[in-house]
């Protein structure tokens, strides 16, 4: 079980969180993208072996989004930052 630090609530057990995958930049204007660019945003991933910047949601806690740096081989977690996503769009 991973122990994940929510930037608002502190260290909590993995089961309180849901996973948001790779922390990708949202396209500023989705309508201007070609099919290829849209597919790349929607489906394609780095799927990195090593340090990975990813989104989590504290769904059974404060319900806010944040991002962490996690090593995908050792599961070590480096830092935890409030996500732009939650701040801008208040999801």
């Amino acid at each position: 079980m991973l122990i994940i630090k929510c930037p608002y609530c502190g260290d909590r057990e993995e089961t309180e969180f849901s996973y948001g995958g790779e922390n990708k930049k949202r396209p500023a204007d989705p309508y201007s993208l070609s099919d290829k660019e849209w597919a790349e945003y929607l489906f394609f991933k780095k799927n990195t072996v090593g340090w990975h910047n990813e989104l989590w949601n504290h769904s059974h806690g404060c319900r806010r989004w944040f991002s962490i740096e996690r090593h995908t081989v050792t599961n070590e977690i480096k830092q935890s930052t409030p996500s732009q996503l939650s701040m801008e769009e208040n999801i």
Partner: protein
């Protein structure tokens, strides 16, 4: 009575003439495994078995290189040589053969997938399994003991029946069992109406079952090696050489190896190897866990799966229950998952099979599964000429090993997909022609 038979047979076994006869038959049969060879080997205290495959040292250049010595890579090499009469083929494996998903799965085989494209491909694979031991002259222990897919609520029932009718239209054997039918077919399932997960019915594919995962890898490796394929273990591909958008070779921990065509069959590591050639994939690699119980006497003679509660289990010939869980939610390459996933699966399993409640779990482990957004594989060409990809089988690629090898060999040989894998191209993520198999594949299996 058995000891009497034993006494009357044994002296004959030990008799030199008989031994010579056996040696004669064995020579006549070539390298084929046979009862004669087995008797001779036991007579020699099993000291003279030949290795199943030769460990090759890499040549400078090959016509075909397959990266990844799991079942899919080995089957591809075998069919390249057997069906397409190619020679000069190498399989390059960074660890040991079958040490990836091939040696870690719960070995369930079946073909009851929803869409035509998948149904045709998986059923083709199941058909190859049905004759695999004979084809490879190696016992892959295919056991068509029947697979139940349980339905616990109305939406399960509707989804299952939709799939069942689609299967029947595709000529795939599939039956509906109501609650009583399930009880009759597998009496140890808790079907009482007030159970935590009531069983409203189940689909049954009688041709489904299990096969021995290691034997599948070893059987293909042995047959490929016999046909002249170089099997290179403990050799990691670290880079892919591309010139004018055409693949020309690979860099490995044992030096550079040139090749005209290269196939990637590395499952969980697909994104990592694709990156070497400069492109990304729509793949997320997750840990997937499984475990075995202590061995007990025969109690479960079929495979039971339940998508809703992530339970799938069968009993091995040794008597252990083999059980698998759902994927861990995060991406991970550590071949290890979180304990809460095991706990959830086991608690659901105890509801379905209360009589297992006092058994102990002996071992748990995890593999890395290459999941695709539509739960279907990617088998075909890549943006680089002469480079082909086979990945995205996710939680369910053991059952497809023979079929996948067959169509991937065809794709690599002809530089064009086989009819059966045309729809499973990388382009479908741009065009939107996804093949959504979450219903058939959502539970790991």
């Amino acid at each position: 009575m058995y000891s009497l038979i034993y006494l009357s047979i044994t002296p004959y076994f030990l008799h030199m003439d008989f031994y010579k006869k056996i040696t004669y038959y064995e020579k006549k049969m070539g390298k084929k495994l046979s009862i004669f060879g087995n008797i001779k080997a036991s007579h020699e205290n099993h000291e003279n078995w030949e290795p199943l495959w030769k460990n090759a040292t890499p040549k400078k250049t090959y016509d075909f290189i397959i990266i990844g010595g799991g079942g899919h890579g080995l089957a591809t090499a075998y069919y390249l040589s057997r069906i397409h009469k190619s020679s000069n083929i190498a399989v390059i494996e960074k660890g040991w053969l079958g040490g990836g998903g091939t040696g870690r799965n719960t070995s369930i085989i079946r073909s009851n997938y929803l869409w035509d494209e998948s149904a045709h491909l998986y059923d083709f694979s199941l058909k190859l399994y049905e004759t695999l031991s004979q084809d490879l002259n190696f016992n892959t222990m295919v056991s068509q003991r029947g697979v139940l897919n349980l339905a616990h609520n109305l939406s399960d029932v509707r989804g299952a029946k939709r799939r069942l009718y689609a299967n029947q239209l595709n000529g795939i054997d599939s039956e509906w069992l109501d609650t009583e039918g399930v009880k009759k077919y597998c009496p140890i399932i808790n079907t009482s109406p007030d159970a935590r997960y009531p069983v409203l019915g189940s689909t049954l594919q009688r041709r489904g079952g299990v096969a021995r995962h290691d034997a599948v890898a070893w059987g293909y490796a042995r047959a490929a090696s016999d046909a002249g394929v170089d099997i290179i273990q403990h050799c990691e591909v670290t880079d892919i050489h591309v010139s004018n958008n055409k693949v020309v070779g690979v860099e490995t921990t044992q030096g550079r190896i040139n090749a005209k065509r290269v196939g990637i069959a590395v499952a969980g590591y697909a994104s990592n190897v694709a990156k070497m050639a400069g492109f990304e994939l729509p793949i997320a690699t997750h840990p997937l866990q499984a475990y075995v119980s202590e061995p007990v006497k025969p109690i479960l003679d079929c495979v039971v799966m339940s998508g809703a509660v992530h339970v799938y289990l069968s009993q091995t010939d040794k008597g252990e229950l083999v059980m698998g869980a759902g994927v861990d939610k995060y991406i991970g390459y550590g071949q290890r998952g979180s304990f809460n996933v095991i706990e959830e699966q086991l608690s659901a399993c105890m509801q379905l099979f209360p009589l297992f409640s006092r058994m102990r779990v002996m071992r748990t482990w995890a593999g890395m599964v290459d999941t695709c957004p539509d739960a279907s594989p990617i088998v075909g060409k890549t943006p680089v000429d002469g480079l082909y990809i086979n990945c995205g089988w996710g939680t369910g690629g053991f059952k497809s090993t023979p079929g996948s090898g067959w169509v991937f060999a065809h794709t690599m040989f002809n530089d064009a997909p086989h009819d059966l894998n045309k729809a499973f191209s990388l382009e479908r993520f741009y065009s939107g022609a996804l093949i959504d198999e979450h219903g058939a594949a959502a539970v790991a299996h």
